[in-house]
Symmetry: C2
């Protein structure tokens, strides 16, 4: 606790918070890591963490260098209603993964999830809270949570084959063609018969 309240310069505090957040999320998972704990590790007040980075979800996104703010993007996607949501989701996902090219941190996260049990737990909790939860809550259908995870399965598989393993011709296919091919899958998982 000795370092609590120490205030280095703004940019030093910001970087210290992100480092502390990565350490805390990595050790304790998304759910169990607290903003208070992260603040203590960074030697700053919790209020400063919120001031710089907003909610715990937003702090996670910043620490993992995610290219989108899901607390803004998810409501924007969902407020259009379920009609056409499959297409909007696939388009949004491709744009997010393609942002930044090879340096994209979403792909780094997908790689780490596949190989590290700890990363898997951390990302599972975050994705459940920030993506799958809001998505399921927006569906007025039976089995909303199963539907949301089926959507996730197609999107993560698309990222694996297209961007990580890069299997042709899907790796080089036009984004619009990929959206057209995959959107009906997502739409059926969201609002169709699951069999």
């Amino acid at each position: 606790m000795a370092r609590t309240g120490r205030r280095p310069g703004n940019s030093g505090s910001r970087e210290a918070i992100l480092e502390a957040a990565r350490a805390a999320f990595g050790e304790r998972g998304f759910s169990d890591a607290s903003v208070r704990d992260i603040a203590v590790r960074a030697g700053v007040d919790a209020a400063l963490v919120h001031h710089f980075y907003g909610t715990k979800e937003q702090l996670f996104a910043a620490a993992m260098k995610l290219p989108v703010d899901l607390s803004v993007a998810m409501p924007a996607l969902l407020e259009g209603g379920v009609v056409g949501l499959g297409e909007r989701l696939v388009g949004f996902f491709l744009a997010a993964v393609e942002a930044g090219g090879d340096q994209n941190s979403l792909l780094a996260l997908i790689r780490s999830v596949a190989s590290h049990e700890q990363s898997a737990a951390m990302v599972r909790e975050f994705v459940s809270k920030a993506v799958l939860g809001p998505l399921a809550a927006s569906l007025e259908m039976p089995d909303p949570d199963l539907r949301a995870t089926l959507v996730g399965s197609q999107l993560i598989g698309l990222a694996m084959v297209r961007y990580v393993v890069r299997v042709e011709p899907l790796a080089s296919a036009d984004s619009a063609a990929v959206v057209a091919a995959v959107a009906p899958t997502i739409q059926r998982y969201l609002t169709g018969e699951l069999g």
Copy 2:
């Protein structure tokens, strides 16, 4: 070349061949690694490699401890025709991944593919040759190769979410329910409109 032709006992030769195969596939990829090269590394004749393990595809499957012989399974799946192929493919895939539980080598392969560029290349070549190629060749539709890779994207994503990251409720869902939910996706990728 000094070790060529040396013949340790049968079980020693078998293990030496598998070790040599893993090394060769890892270093050179599936396409460029040759049975001849693997035989030389193992200190045996190429004929013995074929005698013990059959084709290069079968040797790869044995070296990677894959739970199925795709040179038998793929023709069996495809000979039933495209009607119901989506359901048969998903059922076969779930059974293959679930065989052996946590020790399953398919999951190990999926994990390694996500994190190692070299594994990705090796598995991409093998899967293209042993799975996607025969699947695409069986489709009398436009864009057969794109269709096969879309099928692969849903199946690998299903494995990631259900078995690797284990996101609920998909992780614990009944296999029959998963087949029912995902089969129409696979069937559309195989024989439906891609948009």
